[in-house]
């Protein structure tokens, strides 16, 4: 088995791993029961899913062109900057609309209280 074949296998494995993580992240959306828990799937599993695919693309073009393409690393950088921000905005709007959390959730933040609203108005 030559080196080229081994690298191709590695690239394929990374692609498959990326796909599996993305599917698990999507499954999280279906399986969890409230808005706040559903957010955990897309913010975490998808990061690694996209990361694996980018790593695969980077090593593929390294293999093909002889030098690594750095644009892929930029996608990772932008992803790490933007994922927390969008997750934070989504949770904040969820709190603003007072979306109910699952009954087994510990702790009730005042952002979700109705009485608090009455007291403020």
């Amino acid at each position: 088995m030559d080196l080229r074949f081994a690298l191709e296998v590695a690239v394929s494995a990374l692609m498959i791993a990326g796909g599996i993580f993305a599917v698990i992240g999507a499954m999280g959306m279906v399986r969890f029961r409230d808005f706040y828990m559903r957010l955990h799937g897309p913010t975490k599993s998808t990061t690694l899913g996209v990361g694996c695919v980018l790593l695969a693309s980077m090593s593929f073009f390294w293999l093909k062109n002889g030098h690594p393409s750095l644009q892929d690393m930029l996608i990772t950088l932008f992803l790490f900057i933007t994922t927390p921000v969008s997750a934070h905005l989504l949770t904040m709007s969820g709190l603003h609309h007072k979306l109910p959390s699952a009954p087994e959730t510990k702790g009730q933040p005042y952002e979700l209280d109705d009485e608090d609203d009455i007291a403020r108005n």
Partner: protein
Amino acid sequence: MIPSTRLVPTPYLTLLLIMVWLMLQNSISLGNILMGIVLGIALPRLTASFWDKQPDIKRPFLLVKYILTLLLDIIIANYEVSRLVLSFRHKPKPAFVVYPLSITDNFAITVLTSTISLTPGTISAHLRPHEGTVLIHALDVDDTEALITEIHERYEKPLKEIFGC
């Protein structure tokens, strides 16, 4: 570490812009470096009114260590969440946790809340600046006190040392 001058009021942003430009062009030629420097100086000045005062990086090596820990933790976070999604018998125990902040700098707080969102089973839900706390939603947690201590020891303390605030 790098002092801010009148020409370059935000030196780290300038450095980042030059690096991003070179990575976008995928080459390190003289023309691209010059173009990167021009962009790195012009863009921060054009957007200066939107920028908060940026803290200085006091301990650069600790920052590198912080980023490496974070990358490792992101991989662990992915594994943990995937395991929770796939284990149908285990019921997750979600919780809202109020985390008291001890850092005051806006930029450091942004880095900390982003870190919380990227790491195992926690999402920063709401910042309460007037109280100096962050509301965190945890996916599966037994001991909320332990979670608070862990975030403090693992992320907030290094950040405090890195930015010296």
